[in-house]
């Protein structure tokens, strides 16, 4: 359902455009001015698009640049390409500041959040999309209304509650609110994906004696793989970067995630920007790689969410 609209629309627009160009070319083949205008318009568009591309990656470029500079060079500043590029900043930041520990912690929190989100909301989405049960409409509305509750409104009660349950400071204490916070979007996307699966598949499987759980795991889940990846990605990226709740929840440096590790770098008296940027690069690179390898699912998922 989500993959279909982009492809044909793209193809149609491509066909439309080439036809249009050919047509106008035939009509006004002698009109060189028009052709020149068309080409110069293309150049202007390319320049504008490239310019915004630079704006998009500009802080990122300087992050990379500083991470490969030594302390003396980064203070002098001024140039993007390091004159004496060094790996020392990256390796020393990684080694001295327990970044491996933070990295493992981040991985643990993100993986637990993604897995729990997928399990809990795939099941819920299946119920909302396929099963008829009393209270379905009300529940669905309740979950969507969560979208409008500001994070800051519930953050304090969550911290107080977890303190009571002795979850505060543990990783599971972060994972539970993260999972719940992702409920509206995850349910929206999973319900949409499951609704697109033909009902006949379930009917015939049920007639053949499969129970509801089997229908869910053997038919609906495999058919909805793209949606599952989208939800996973949309959960993983913000979780990996999360800072606000993490900062007020974790107090033992051994349990810190990468954003908190990065925070400790900046709280020194004189900020060493090369070390901070090296740390920032360590935080950012895994999500960039994850996004690049799975981005088509992300785009399609967002398209699905907008249409829904």
């Amino acid at each position: 359902m989500t993959t279909i609209p982009l492809g044909p629309a793209d193809g149609a627009s491509a066909a439309g455009r080439t036809n249009g160009t050919a047509g106008s070319g035939g009509e006004s083949g002698s009109d060189g001015g028009r052709l020149a205008r068309r080409i110069s318009a293309k150049v202007v568009i390319a320049v504008l698009l490239t310019a915004y591309g630079l704006v998009s990656v500009y802080p990122f470029l300087w992050m990379v640049s500083a991470a490969f500079k030594n302390q003396i060079e980064v203070v002098r500043g001024g140039h993007l390409i390091p004159h004496q590029p060094t790996l020392h900043t990256l390796t020393s930041t990684w080694n001295q500041l327990h970044f491996f520990r933070y990295f493992v912690n981040s991985l643990e929190v993100t993986a637990m959040t993604v897995v729990l989100t997928l399990v809990v909301y795939a099941a819920a989405g299946y119920a909302f999309a396929v099963l008829d049960f009393p209270g379905r409409g009300l529940l669905q509305k309740l979950f969507i209304s969560l979208l409008f509750v500001p994070g800051i409104t519930v953050m304090l009660p969550i911290v107080l509650l977890e303190d009571k349950l002795h979850l505060l400071g543990s990783h599971i204490g972060l994972v539970l609110p993260f999972v719940n916070g992702g409920a509206p979007l995850s349910i929206l996307l999973m319900t949409g994906a499951f609704s697109a699966v033909p009902k006949e598949l379930r009917e015939s499987a049920r007639v053949d004696g499969a129970n509801e759980f089997h229908v869910f795991t053997r038919i609906y889940l495999p058919l909805s793989r793209p949606a599952l990846i989208t939800v996973g990605l949309l959960t993983a990226i913000p979780t990996w970067n999360e800072y606000l709740l993490t900062r007020v929840s974790l107090n033992n440096p051994g349990s810190y995630t990468l954003p908190l590790g990065l925070q400790t770098l900046s709280s020194e008296n004189v900020p060493h920007y090369n070390e901070m940027m090296a740390g920032a690069l360590i935080v950012v690179v895994p999500v960039v790689l994850l996004f690049l390898s799975l981005q088509r699912y992300f785009v399609n998922g967002l398209v699905g969410a907008v249409k829904g």
Partner: protein, 337 residues
């Protein structure tokens, strides 16, 4: 809880019809289905509840309980350690809005900054992302690559990239160097862009827009690609040029997307404060303090002062504002489409 009876009602009205979702093949199977229906209905209800149970339990504890708890706390005074709450009624709300000289002026100040952000960020985001999507939609060869590049701000959004912004915005940072090298040195900020009280808030707005453009741009791009080509061709046949087509035909067609983009960004501008916490912590001299940041400070950074009730109350004021925005937006969306 005014919505409570509605779903129940619709479930009842659907029941005699046998459920509109049941397919109705030939007479024989239909008769069998009719015999099986009561049992199947019960089975479906039970499995339905089992499937949503984990989500509901989590929601009850992390959502409903915390929301209720926070609401009660907003009518009390507490420092987080004392054994009992002191009930103060709506005093917290009064203190925040006008009564207490320690809090009210700060809140009013922060509200003004939040208002600036709420006006500027959605407008600028639309102003950048719509033209960007139109241009990107017409560039076929580079589209996929550029789309990935444009998404870097979304993917990296978090403390790491905010530190990078801080780094390039400092007095001897890359932005000032860039301005000097292109002969606009008079625009550079010797105190740094975040150090000068006059440029700090506008700079924060620009950084926020930078982070908001990717998703908005992708939404517009999606909308553009679903517009029927024949509509655009008809406009061109009628003699509309590129500007005219985009302004008078495309822009009205993507209005629902504009409404979503504006709603999302209004909400984020009202509630979001992570960028501010990391990059300026409200400074210099509270010139970039926003309401979310003020609530965060009251909740977590006041040590033993009894400000937790105040923090909750401020959170609820933000919630009320978010609700009003959502309702207005919904109305606008309905009236236009």
């Amino acid at each position: 809880m005014t919505t409570a009876p509605r779903p129940a009602l619709s479930a009842e009205t659907a029941a005699p019809g046998g459920g509109p979702r049941d397919p109705r093949p030939g007479a024989g199977p239909a008769a069998r289905a009719a015999r099986l229906r009561p049992r199947r209905r019960g089975y479906e209800a039970v499995s339905g509840w089992l499937f949503v149970a984990p989500a509901v339990v989590l929601f009850a504890v992390m959502g409903l309980y915390t929301v209720g708890y926070g609401f009660l706390l907003s009518f009390a005074q507490w420092n987080g350690f004392a054994a009992h709450w002191t009930w103060v009624g709506i005093q917290n709300y009064k203190d925040l809005l006008w009564a207490d000289p320690r809090y009210a002026p700060r809140v009013q100040h922060a509200a003004l900054h939040t208002l600036y952000v709420m006006l500027a960020v959605p407008a600028l985001t639309v102003l950048v992302s719509f033209p960007l999507a139109v241009l990107l939609n017409s560039a076929r060869r580079m589209q996929t690559l550029l789309r990935s590049v444009y998404f870097v701000p979304y993917v990296t959004s978090g403390i790491a990239v905010f530190f990078a912004w801080q780094y390039i915005l400092q007095p001897d940072g890359a932005i000032n160097t860039l301005l000097k090298s292109v002969g606009m040195g008079s625009l550079s900020q010797p105190q740094g862009w975040l150090g000068n009280p006059h440029t700090a808030l506008p700079t924060m707005i620009v950084v926020t827009v930078w982070g908001a453009v990717p998703v908005a741009m992708l939404m517009y791009l999606t909308g553009l690609q679903s517009i029927d080509r024949s509509v655009l061709e008809a406009a061109q046949l009628d003699g509309a040029g590129w500007w005219r087509t985009n302004f008078s035909v495309v822009w009205p067609l993507v209005r629902p997307i504009t409404a979503i983009v504006v709603l999302l960004n209004l909400r984020d501008s009202l509630q979001g404060f992570q960028t501010f916490l990391v990059m300026t912590n409200g400074g210099p001299g509270d010139h970039t303090n926003v309401l979310g940041l003020e609530a965060y400070r009251l909740a977590f950074l006041m040590d033993l002062d009894p400000t937790l009730g105040l923090a909750s109350a401020l959170g609820w004021l933000l919630f009320a504002a978010a609700l009003v925005i959502a309702l207005i937006n919904l109305r606008v969306l309905r009236s236009r489409t």
